[in-house]
């Protein structure tokens, strides 16, 4: 009886390994065949683009920085690798992966007023979105260990690396005409009134998040990349948070230009915003023009 069960168990295990390999291959093909949406723009950012200027950031980067306008100003190619819902830990990780094959001249990092705020949840949890790149990028393996020491064991499964992507990938087979080098303009006008916004004036800061920011700074310095920190506008009167104070200090200590567009008069216009923390297409156009002008001056000053 035990012999029979053991034999069946071995056969089942072999079938599972084979199924995992085959289905994993199919899912990998599906994932990398996407032509639109966030998975596609992430793949382009990590594996294809060779832009001179790389933009990193959350949805605020993704919706705010128009590469076409910056290209004209800096006379070089630009790629917007901003991604909704992803912050410092993610940007630090993707910079490592990008630097394996390409070194941009300039990295623009859009930082939010709450980027360094202490978070109760696991800050490395969202790195699992980089699992599809696990097999092809050595630095991805190191990054995944930050999620959990079990992650490399879980990644032995080809299917596990593509967890949750199936239906989304099936819907992303058509090219998004709207998307321009990672930038996505949004339409709409904010309905909320202009008001004060507390994004964590007295919030405790997280050492781990600060170390991720320092990692980005160190990577840029060691690869001779010009790093520029930017905080793009809000449709609100944003109080100076502990994060912003800390970023000011870090930028000064490391001689990194920091452009802060919070609370500027020209952005107190509701027609420029989609919601209180995102510019719409009109707003992005205005902001990117202003930013490009400032970027050239800053790069010239900080040679």
């Amino acid at each position: 009886m035990l012999k029979k069960i053991t034999y069946k168990f071995i056969v089942l295990l072999l079938l599972l390994v084979i199924s995992d390999y085959i289905i994993g291959k199919v899912l990998k093909e599906l994932y990398f065949s996407q032509k639109s949406d966030e998975y596609y723009t992430a793949t382009v950012a990590l594996e294809k683009q060779t832009a001179d200027v790389l933009i990193l950031g959350s949805s605020r980067a993704h919706y705010h920085y128009d590469p076409a306008i910056i290209t004209d100003s800096v006379n070089g190619t630009v790629y917007n690798a901003g991604r909704s819902g992803y912050f410092l830990v993610y940007h630090s990780a993707i910079l490592d992966i990008i630097l394996e094959r390409h070194i941009p001249r300039v990295v623009i990092l859009d930082v939010t007023p709450y980027d360094l705020n202490y978070k109760k949840s696991d800050i490395y949890d969202r790195l699992s979105v980089l699992l599809p790149y696990y097999s092809d990028h050595p630095s991805c393996k190191r990054i995944m260990r930050k999620c959990s020491f079990l992650e490399p064991i879980k990644c032995l499964s080809n299917v596990y690396r593509f967890n949750g992507i199936v239906f989304k990938a099936l819907g992303n087979q058509k090219i998004d005409e709207n998307c321009n080098n990672g930038f996505e303009p949004v339409k709409g006008i904010v309905s909320q009134p202009f008001d004060d916004l507390d994004l964590g004036i007295s919030s405790e800061l997280d050492d781990k998040l600060e170390s991720e920011l320092m990692h980005i700074i160190t990577q840029c310095k060691s690869n001779n990349i010009r790093l520029v920190l930017v905080t793009s506008p809000f449709y609100a009167n944003v109080q100076k948070t502990n994060t912003l104070k800390r970023i000011d200090k870090i930028a000064a200590e490391n001689r990194i230009p920091y452009l802060n567009y919070l609370n500027k008069e020209e952005y107190k216009d509701s027609t420029l915003f989609f919601d209180i923390d995102h510019l719409n297409a009109e707003g992005a156009k205005l902001f990117t023009s202003n930013f490009s002008h400032d970027l050239i001056q800053v790069l010239a000053q900080h040679k």
Partner: protein, 412 residues
């Protein structure tokens, strides 16, 4: 006469001792889980006469599984008092009974009569087939929990997190999905616990028996969270008089049992209302319908009865899900008059929800027709079984929420 007097005195002391032990047993549960609720209720009452909060509020961290092992321990005390079992002298055996890892976190609530003979058995034999059976249950449990329950949670949390914003039809769909989510979450965990127990050679209570195949609310409570409902039946309902009394008293006993059951689930009025509704539905059923559990209606009648039962359960579960009574009443009012546009998130969210729900419901229907056996997992044909194992594993890996969801019943 003096022997009778002595026996009466001993019985009286036994009763007092039982009372004291039960008090000690339930004291930690009362403090950790119900202190703030009792304090708030008391403060609201004295607030009417102008007195402000007398006792301070504390933010207790609820020890995991406290509701389950407190009840398991209480059941043991009552069984010893009733002389149904002999008091256990070996502290290790008793500790294992209370702290058996497979059931400590969220049940099933074990019975001393079932567990002690297994724990104390010296004739344990390693049975490879038990491990196979156990792993089957574990696999099915993980599928229900991770690939269905946690996936549906994405939708129900979005809807119930903003009830005023959503239309009646959306609340209706979310309520239905929540019933399936709760079932998959809890039954999934229970199957994992049952399967792990099986692997160790321990037979636990199977907590769920395809509850959505029920044709009445009464039948539902014989199929849902069986360990808890039988606990309440044996240690509360029957001692109150059960059904062996007047109709009015019987109904009162039923209502009290379900109100207490609601309170067990959470220190909130929403849970009490949920429990009360379940009791009320059963009282009404007994008055107007046929609740003979041995008689199953077939065909269209059976299907209609299942559907009505499901709707009643779904209405009650709205109170289970909502944070407060006002949200719950708003949700139910929208639910009963479903109108407006259905909230459909991205199809990458809705398709796995619907697909998972269909698989679970179909599996239950087939299991019901197959005398409780899994049609595919326990199929005689090894190719069918293996194909099912591979399908479930690949489904969990590709579509399951593997980033660590929550077991809803851990909060109890």
């Amino acid at each position: 006469m003096s022997l009778v007097n002595c026996q009466n005195r001993c019985a009286k002391y036994d009763k007092i001792l039982l009372g004291m032990l039960l008090l000690c047993n339930f004291l930690p549960l009362t403090i950790f889980k119900y202190y703030n609720f009792i304090n708030d209720t008391f403060s609201s009452l004295v607030g009417i006469i102008g007195i402000s909060q007398i006792f301070p509020k504390y933010d207790f961290l609820l020890p995991i599984g406290i509701s389950f092992y407190s009840f398991q321990a209480a059941g043991y005390l009552i069984d010893v008092y009733r002389k149904e079992i002999i008091a256990e002298r070996n502290i290790l055996n008793y500790s294992l009974f209370i702290g058996l890892f497979v059931q400590i976190a969220a049940g099933p609530i074990g019975r001393s009569k079932d567990l002690f003979p297994q724990i104390k058995s010296s004739s344990y034999k390693f049975r490879p087939y038990d491990i196979v059976l156990g792993l089957r249950f574990v696999l099915w449990g993980y599928f229900m929990k991770v690939a269905v329950g946690d996936v549906i949670d994405v939708y129900t949390s979005a809807v119930f997190g903003n009830i005023p914003f959503h239309s009646g039809i959306t609340i209706l769909v979310a309520s239905i999905m929540f019933c399936i989510q709760l079932y998959c979450d809890f039954a999934g965990y229970s199957y994992i616990a049952y399967g792990c127990g099986k692997c160790l050679g321990i037979n636990l209570i199977n907590n769920f028996n395809r509850p959505f195949m029920s044709q009445s609310v009464t039948e539902f409570w014989h199929r849902w969270h069986i360990s808890l409902s039988t606990w309440f039946r044996d240690y509360l309902y029957i001692p109150l008089g059960g059904s062996r009394c007047s109709s009015l008293r019987k109904n009162a006993n039923l209502l009290i049992t379900f109100l207490v059951s609601g309170l067990w689930h959470g220190a909130s009025y929403t849970f009490i209302v949920w429990g009360g509704l379940n009791g009320l539905f059963q009282i009404i059923e007994k008055k107007i319908g046929d609740t003979n559990l041995k008689k199953r209606h077939s065909g269209l009648t059976g299907m209609v009865r299942c559907l009505i039962t499901f709707i009643l359960i779904a209405i009650a579960f709205v109170f289970f899900k909502c944070q407060n009574i006002y949200d719950a009443l708003l949700a139910v009012s929208k639910f009963l008059l479903p109108a407006g546009k259905l909230f459909i998130p991205m199809f990458s969210i809705i398709i796995p929800c619907v697909l998972g729900a269909i698989i679970v419901i179909l599996s239950d229907i087939l299991q019901e027709k197959n005398n409780g056996n899994f049609m595919f997992l326990s199929n005689k044909n090894v190719f069918v079984r293996f194909a099912t194992y591979i399908f479930l594993v690949m489904y969990i890996l590709s579509l399951g929420v593997l980033g660590g969801g929550n077991f809803l019943y851990f909060q109890f």
